[in-house]
Point group: C2
Chain length 209, copies 2
């Protein structure tokens, strides 16, 4: 099937939303934890987390346009802190439920039955059920002109991962941590590794690590 | 294992690079196709593709700092066009090989044995072996202050996907297209879907689609 830009604009809204959300390929599946200045915790599903840099350690994510109240964006800008927590199979339905539009007065932790966990290093709530927990401070914000989405860059303040999940070379095995992936808006999957491949150089055969 | 920001900065370079590259969770695995003004085609592995918007259809990706020649970034800025092509199991080793640092004078298509394909709608080369092919025009550029990486937003000009891979609601089934995912810098995996879940609303039970 081939669709042009004009064809895409003419698609029914839900069809277009599903199709275009799938185009980017498999995505990260994280819960973003924040706390308001009034102390109310918040959780939201984020499927746009990307690596920005290792030194200093930076992570980026895209957030929807703040044309309606967006508790996560408001909280992370006001307090300067947020967490990213990998979702695994034991609580992915609760994670999905947290994407419902809850009022800023209620905590998605309470509503979904997930558990808050805290660090001494920053005030944002982790999801205790998550095996990979990342604490971040807000660094940069870029407002995308074309549609008002917001690209946020965070600095990694803390990493909490299970013992035995990191190899000698620093590779964090996301099969061992049970991290899931997302296809489009609502398709959740688990991953089986095919291979790790050696660093590529022109004229050199690659091999499996 | 718990690491603070200071601990991370003190890690050996390769260990830190692997660990931090894995923190974002599972990533998209695409080849970006461009052509220079001199007509030399280029391919590069991109694992930072994210959904930006459905209407208009927009895709974003992060590129490394242009402190050394970056053919993909140069080409897409000069010509205004690029493609994203989902990598599947039949050619993932060739895709990985294209991440080697080849001279701007040679085409990674030639070097890796992948095949160029073209559309009437734009001049950028697709990877014929890819089941999902997306043609884009350059829209916006944001230079990340903290480390000089570049966030690029592209507008979707064309989508080419296999017959039968898109459901009635527009969901593009990435298992059917054979799209792979990446863990960190070099871990490639395939995905098995657990479930699609219904739209979440406060107080409403979610169900499987």
């Amino acid at each position: 099937m081939t669709l042009s830009y004009t064809d895409i604009l003419a698609l029914p809204k839900e069809y277009r939303r599903n199709l275009i959300n799938c185009l980017s390929g498999y995505k990260s599946f994280c819960l973003c934890g924040t706390k308001s200045e009034d102390g109310i915790t918040n959780l939201s599903v984020i499927s746009s987390v990307i690596h920005v840099g290792a030194n200093p350690p930076l992570v980026g994510m895209l957030m929807r346009p703040p044309v309606v109240p967006r508790d996560t964006l408001t909280n992370l800008l006001e307090t300067g802190f947020f967490t990213l927590n990998h979702v695994n199979e034991t609580f992915y339905q609760q994670a999905h439920q947290s994407s419902g539009r809850y009022s800023a007065e209620v905590s998605e932790f309470t509503e979904t039955g997930l558990t808050e966990a805290y660090s001494d290093l920053h005030p944002a709530p982790y999801v205790a059920e998550a095996s990979v927990q990342i604490g971040l401070s807000f660094q940069e914000r870029y407002d995308i002109q074309a549609n008002g989405t917001v690209f946020i860059v965070g600095r990694v303040l803390e990493v909490r991962v299970p013992e035995g999940s990191v190899g000698e070379d620093g590779f964090l095995d996301l099969e061992k941590t049970g991290s899931l992936t997302v296809n489009g808006l609502d398709g959740y999957g688990k991953v089986e590794r095919i291979a790790r491949l050696s660093y590529a150089k022109p004229g050199k055969e690659i091999s499996q690590l």
